[in-house]
Amino acid sequence: MTILGQIALGLGLLLATWGAVVGTIGGIRGRPELIDSARRAVFALFAVIGVAALSLLVALLTRDFNVEYVWSYTSRQLPTVYTISAFWAGQAGSLLFWTLILTGFAAAAMWLTSSRYERLMPYVGAVTCAVALFFIAAMLFSANPFDRLPFTPADGNGLNPQLQNPGMAIHPPMLYLGYVSITIPFAFAVAALMSRQMDAGWVHAIRKWTLLSWVFLSVGITLGMWWAYVELGWGGYWAWDPVENASFLPWLTMTAFLHSVMIQEKRGMLKKWNIVLVMLSFLLSIFGTFITRSGVISSVHSFTQSNLGYFFLVFLVVACVFLAWLLWSRLPGLESEGHLESMVSREASFLFNNLLLVGMAFVILWGTLFPIISELIQGVQVTVGPPFFNRVTTPIGLGLLALTGIGPLIAWRKASTSNLRRQFTVPVGVALVVATILIVLQFREFYAGVAWILAAFVTVAILQEFWRGVGARHRLHGESYALALARLFGRNRRRYGGYVVHLGIVAYFVGFTGMAFRTDLQVALAPGETATLASPFGYEYTFTHMGISRFKALNRYVTAATVDVRRDGKRVAVIRSEKRQHFSCRVAVSPCPQGSESASFQPSTEAGIHSDYREDIYVVFAGIAEDTEEAIYRFTLNPLVWWVWFGGGVLLVGGVIVMWPGGGPSRRAPRRTIAGYAAKLVDEREKVTA
């Protein structure tokens, strides 16, 4: 299927160029036939890239090992799920995948955006085409998924065993969906600047897109954490690795954007800042792809090194220069309409939230690039690791957590002392109670303690918001409490869905504090021998090595070690951890006959995990002492990790509530209400003046 794929990519290059150039000219000149042609180019581009993707998928599924990409990432024994996920396991495939999602989003944006923004659309199409053009060019000239080998190997090289995990099968697509969907808000921002339609129109047009990409990024990052936790076997989920940081950076700027854009909608402030944020998010998402794909910074993930890095670098530089010029030339149209009226207002709390988020992004970017920066300045690489990131980001993160609680409690514009008292009494009271309890218990971990106090504060603040909202509806409209709660969500899904997301974030923070209480033990045990470990919750765990078994599975040899785990003498689980040696097959037969296996990849470890909301029991089987049944184990107790995944779930639910299409109030009803209200208002006024 490589011929079809090659043709499709070539066509894609042509269509993307056409869309970018003709869309821009059509937009500037206002020529309907050019605009229409460019619009169709976006749809055609999606179709053509779809054809290319299908060709690669067919090549993968038919195991056409003559295609280099297929040979590199699959083998005969690879399960079908992972054969499909091999699509995005390698460089060339993930570029194609990126392009496919990008053109899909572009087509959806062209299709779904209301005609009221038609002035923006030619530019939106042009920008997305230009970005797609870059990716297609990178594929054609640097990493082509359709390259063939000069001969046909009997079996493929197989997929890296660490990528053979359900989390890894869906984590990259999710993260890519997040990265790529930033392009759409970005395209609207650029379109607003290019068409000089710099009112709030573009902000309204992208509202759902922004949230969509934010949710994808959040879910993608969380799945990445889960993958690292389950698969990498070091017992944690976040190592401040460059690749992880790269995914976190656009998340931070997008979070800042989500909040500051509300100030623009409500008050007409921060217009320039919002455009800068969305541009920054886009550049960081490209930068993230660049870091992942170029290996410019050494990282455990550091996938491949190739000249692809230069493509990205050139693209980044060109994009930066162009965006700087565009912004500069349009500055006069971006004057603020409102101004900050008080430091005690929701605007101010949002401004600080933005400052902290962007500050955090800067710190992480600086730390990630520090080896390069220090080499340029000092001539020697100085690296900073997790201690640096933890130390700097923890206070910032706690500040953000506090703002999560403060922001919703303060009114827009200006809050008076009396209503501050009314709003803050209960949440602060509860926080103080938690603080007192921690002090009485002589709690030692400072940051974890602060995090819990703030978590209590934020949770109570949000619950109070729900409580008062329901109460107000109950009083004003005479609705039952259940109906009032449902309507509360329905009428202002953005606000109340947002609160649900905040609750999810609180759960993440609770999960993060657990890392301060990790305890682990590395030990070699003969069968029947036991080791004990005290948990921070006061339990005592007993681990008994039960034995080792060896067997051959579909595409791997497995050595499994099993432990019996007891909490205070009562059995909680029997946990098995595996060492796997994957192999490929020298002959084209499935299953692979005895003696034809050839080992591929280094051995990998499958950690055994028993999880509940208090703590995870994390067992890693690290190896066997030669010719004995004595196993080397690492037992780790990870308190509260469960809350991180739980927070991810809550966040997703909140995001879906906000984005849910339709539903909500009908359009006519509020119009009627508004019309009636307007009439009443005029009457009242006239009485006053009469």
């Binding site: 190997p153 900050l340 500050g359 800067f362 520090f370 130390r391 066997i624 030669e626």
Partner: protein, 139 residues
């Protein structure tokens, strides 16, 4: 004082705090990332290089790995071809750790010229860079 000025003041405080945290963080936790040759060159001219945190990037020397299972102790040499240093590490190493593989050793250099490692990272690729079997035959 106008709200704007107040905000700018607050922002200034925040920025300075973050900047201070960052500078302190880098000073306290930043470590040199060196190859064995660079380390040798630095140690020759500067005795303060002993007993401070460093990271050494190189390859595991062939035939140098010595494991003692019961005490979880691992000894090996890290080399860049020209200079090599013995490394002692207690703990579990990643699966990818084998002979000749690229490693990053975190730890400190003791006066006797051994690196006491606190962490050993082995580089893994998403791709196992092997040459397809039969490629020699066909080319």
């Amino acid at each position: 004082m106008s709200p704007r000025a107040k905000f700018l003041l607050g922002a200034g405080v925040v920025v300075l705090t973050v900047g201070f945290l960052m500078a302190e963080g880098i000073k306290d936790t930043g470590v040199y990332f060196l190859t064995p040759s660079e380390l040798a060159a630095r140690v020759a001219g500067d005795s303060t290089m002993y007993d401070v945190g460093i990271r050494i990037g190189g390859n595991v020397a062939n035939g140098s790995i010595d494991r003692h299972v019961a005490s979880l102790t691992l000894k090996f040499e890290v080399t860049d071809g020209a200079v090599s240093y013995p490394v002692v590490y207690v703990g579990i190493v990643p699966d990818t750790f084998t002979e000749d593989v690229e490693v990053v050793v975190e730890g400190r250099l003791t006066r006797d010229g051994t690196i006491r490692a606190t962490n050993v990272l082995a580089k893994c690729g998403s791709r196992y860079e092997a040459v397809p079997e039969g490629s020699q035959a066909s080319t």
